[in-house]
Amino acid sequence: MDLRLFRIRPAEAYPIVLERRRIFVLPTRSGLLFAFTLFAMLLASINYTLSLGYALTFLLAGVGVTSTFHAYRNLLGIEVNGGHGTPAHVSDMVGFEFSLNDKARRDRFAIGVINSEETVVTDLPASSTLHVRLTCRAIRRGPLDAGRIVIETRFPLGLVRAWSVFTPDHTVIVYPAIEREAPNPPRGGEDHDGESSASDGSDDFAGLRGHRNTDSPRQMAWKAIARADTLISKSFTASAGQQLDLRWFDLPDTLDTEARLSRLTRWVVDAAAQAREYTLTLPDQSIGPGHDATHRDRCLTALALFGMSAHS
């Protein structure tokens, strides 16, 4: 039904305002049962010539019609915006966040936000903004669209459903899956020949130094900051001397593309967690060196989009 009523359009940019031409109203199953009840009541009124029966039947029919407008009004003028997407890895749950904003200064009740997998029902108080998070499982790496979103309500009587469909221009990057039992990354420096040199000590604490804007929160030396009243970071031996070089071509040939991406993802995540400086080298690009969150995201995005020319 939705498809016929609503021609597929390209994804829309936010904000999306639910205005009158995009709200549809149709009776629900309860509504049909209600109509059937009214019909039976009308027949009884005719048969027994019950004037008050007619009046009651028509009053309730009027309530049914009125509820259509209440349902419609419950959605009318809601503004939808996208919220912060939480990046995720393949087979994680990806969260799409939407903000619903009432611009018409009225309370709205039982608004359902629905994607293909999940329904979230919420009330939206007058003049307020509310965040709703819909999740869906990421099955492929790369950009994931929010897809068709339905905002619906059966309020107030449950007899009719008012809804609006839209496809927002709202994408979350799904990073490749993190390989579970990956070998340690190769040491940086001159020794590039693979995974053999499994050595630890990457997070050997080396001392304190002044804070740099690019430092991740993990590197902050909170205790020292509390004493010194200025920002101080921990420095690690690894980040100082042993720079990681995570290279596509160093991986064994037995691995296919996705497995390679998976392993590189693992290494990037680990390195970022340890705040080590690393460089990611893919066949078509090299990122780094760097060690902060921005760098990590760039690397992960590159891994996610690897091989997708349109986005590279």
Partner: protein, 646 residues
């Protein structure tokens, strides 16, 4: 969403709805069922209160089967009005008991709505209407609370709003929706049980029973002034056969027009006859031709083709001065002379004496009347029980009787004297309502009189009760009754205030009856033609119906689009400003404050940069500056925004 159990509040609302829809039925349904309903409602209340799960199927199923069997045993059927209502009550109670999900509750609500309608089968009073509206309101509130509104006040308020908003629909459909005369299918036997009214036979006591009832028999609206009271004889069954105790009618022919020639002053009036489940249409003696769909019986009754099972309205024209029965058939006259043998010897003897001492039947008739006047007969609502010779005992022994005794004894006397005579039952008089000019005739105005046939003069009405007790005719029943008689409260003459109150109530009731209950096909056509709609022009009617519906829908649409007015006057101005800029293509971004927004908007709309900037500055100053903004400052901001035109 439906699988989740419903909210506790919704259960409470549902309980209220169920109580309001079933409890008013209690006086009309079997007592075991009423008791069972109360117990189940209480059980449900306890269950909700203690948050106990709904009983399982092995409890509810036997209950349902048991109740169904009990209904069949009690009512002998599952069809019909009474059994149908009983079954619905059972269904609602048990469904309520086993309800868990919103879906279960919705089914309950729809059952309750039907039960609210069912109440009208028993009574269509204004009180029932009020009960129905309240329980409909409760049903709507239940639906709302199922949809997720928690606050009871807001639920009720919303339900009230919705009911008010649907009143225009109700009125529109009520008055314009084509009224189809029922029934659509055969009505069950019990549909019109227990209607009071005249019966088609008369035995001692039948009318005095009727007169204890203050129920309205019919209402009459005369086009001009009503005829004098002594002409207000409303003709009902004409009883000619007499078996010594019971008077019954003979079979008569009928035609589409009266067989007599009308004469004298016509009185035109509109009757609103209450349902009495008998075919006769009451009319003032003697109705002229032209009553719609009516048959004219040869004994001058007016008949409908079917039994009057709903309040019926018709207009008629009566000519009290007409002469009827000038050429009465011999067979009718023979029956009107027949008496059961060996009954009432003293009355027969009296008749022979009267007949012998008078030349003409006319003189005999007058002599008989004056004999009755002087016989010392008393008029009473509680006559003693009579034996086999009713006329003898009344005329010579007990001398206490009601109109039926007077009439039947007089007819027996006439027949014994060789004058054809018969008993006519109907109503006499009525009360003129001071508020709407309707003549209200009640069951208490039921009356019996007699008709005698004289050669050359036809059938003449003779009312022996009135002859003996003229007050009965002029001042109504109460005046004619002896001091010892307990007068029914509603006709007591000394209670003027009561009468006044009753008249007012009757006025309201009549309006209610005419416009709400009695709004049938005829009334609708009358109403439509007064609105200028052609009778029977269905496309036109459909057009009007659709057009008006569309109008109501548009009003609702306008209402839906109406937004709440911002209560902060400053914010209201800012909203206008934002609205103007949005129309000009520069909507405010969600994170932009006044200054940032004005800067961006000014850059986009260069021609208005200064105006936009100063409005934003002014707004910021008023909003975030010291103190509350003065009225003139807001006014100033407003005019600045007014001047902003793109």
């Amino acid at each position: 969403m439906n699988a989740a159990p419903a909210d506790t509040r919704a259960f409470w609302w549902m309980l209220l709805t169920a109580a309001m829809s079933t409890l008013p039925h209690l006086p009309y349904i079997a007592s075991w069922l009423g008791g069972g309903t109360v117990i189940i409602l209480a059980w449900q209340a306890w269950r909700i209160h203690r948050r106990i799960d709904a009983p399982r199927w092995y409890i509810t199923t036997p209950l349902a089967i048991g109740a169904g069997v009990a209904v069949v045993i009690t009512y002998q059927t599952l069809l019909g009005k009474q059994a149908g209502i009983a079954l619905l009550v059972v269904l609602l109670s048990l469904k309520l008991l086993e309800s868990r999900s919103p879906r279960d509750l919705r089914v309950c609500i729809f059952l309750a709505m039907f039960l609210q309608l069912g109440l009208f089968l028993d009574t269509e009073s204004a009180l029932t209407a009020a009960i129905a509206v309240l329980s409909a309101l409760s049903a709507i509130a239940t639906l709302i609370s199922l949809s997720g509104l928690r606050s009871p006040q807001r639920t009720l308020k919303l339900a009230g709003t919705m009911v008010l908003q649907s009143v225009p629909f109700m009125l529109l459909l009520f008055f314009l929706f084509p009224r189809i005369p029922g029934p659509l299918w055969g009505l069950p036997e019990d549909a019109f049980a227990a209607r009071t009214g005249l019966s088609d036979s008369m035995s001692p006591g039948s009318i005095s029973e009727l007169i204890q009832s203050g129920a309205v028999a019919f209402r009459v609206k005369f086009d001009e002034s009503p005829p004098p009271r002594h002409q207000l004889y409303w003709r009902g069954p004409v009883l000619t056969n007499f078996d010594g105790r019971r008077w019954t009618p003979v079979k008569t022919g009928d035609a589409t027009a009266p067989e007599y020639a009308v004469a004298g002053t016509p009185y035109r009036y509109t009757m609103t006859l209450e349902a009495h489940d008998k075919p006769w249409l009451l009319a003032l003696d003697y109705p002229g031709p032209g009553v719609q769909n009516a048959r004219y019986a040869t004994d001058y009754r007016l008949l409908d083709s079917k039994r009057i099972q709903q309040r019926t309205r018709y207009t008629a024209e009566s000519y009290p001065e007409s002469r009827v029965g000038l050429n009465e058939s011999q067979s009718t006259l023979v029956v009107a002379l027949t008496l059961p043998p060996e009954r009432n010897p003293r009355t027969v003897e009296l008749a022979r004496t009267l007949r012998a001492s008078h030349e003409s039947p006319e003189a005999t008739l007058n002599a008989a009347l004056s004999w009755m006047r002087t016989a010392g007969l008393n008029y009473t609502l509680r006559p003693p029980t009579l034996g086999l010779n009713t006329a003898d005992e009344f005329l010579f022994d007990t001398k206490r009787g009601f109109c039926e005794h007077f009439a039947s004894s007089f007819v027996i006397l006439m027949r014994a004297a060789g004058i054809p005579a018969r008993v006519v039952t109907g109503y006499q008089g009525g009360e003129l309502n001071a508020y709407d000019g309707h003549l209200v005739v009640r069951q208490s105005d039921a009356h019996a009189w007699s008709e005698v046939w004289l050669e050359g003069r036809g059938w003449l009405r003779v009312d022996p009760t009135a002859q003996s007790h003229p007050a009965r005719l002029d001042d109504g029943l109460a005046a004619a009754l002896g001091a010892n008689d307990a007068i029914p409260l509603f006709i007591r003459p000394d209670m003027q205030w009561l009468r006044d109150l009753r008249q007012r109530w009757d006025f309201v009731n009549n309006a209610w009856n005419q416009w709400v209950l009695g709004y049938d096909q005829a009334r609708q056509q009358d109403f439509l033609s007064r609105l200028g709609l052609e009778k029977g022009n269905w496309p036109q009617l459909a057009g009007v119906l659709l057009g008006m519906s569309a109008l109501i829908m548009l009003t609702l649409l306008w209402w839906a689009h109406r937004t709440q007015r911002e209560s902060d006057p400053l914010l209201r101005q800012w909203a206008r400003f934002e609205h103007k800029l949005r129309r000009a293509g520069v909507p405010r971004l969600i994170h932009e404050g006044p200054d940032d927004y004005a800067r961006r908007a000014g850059a986009a709309l260069v021609a208005h940069r200064d105006a936009i900037g100063s409005i934003a500055t002014q707004y910021s100053r008023l909003r975030y500056g010291r103190g509350t903004p003065e009225r003139h400052e807001i006014q100033q901001l407003k005019s600045m925004i007014d001047r902003l035109k793109f």
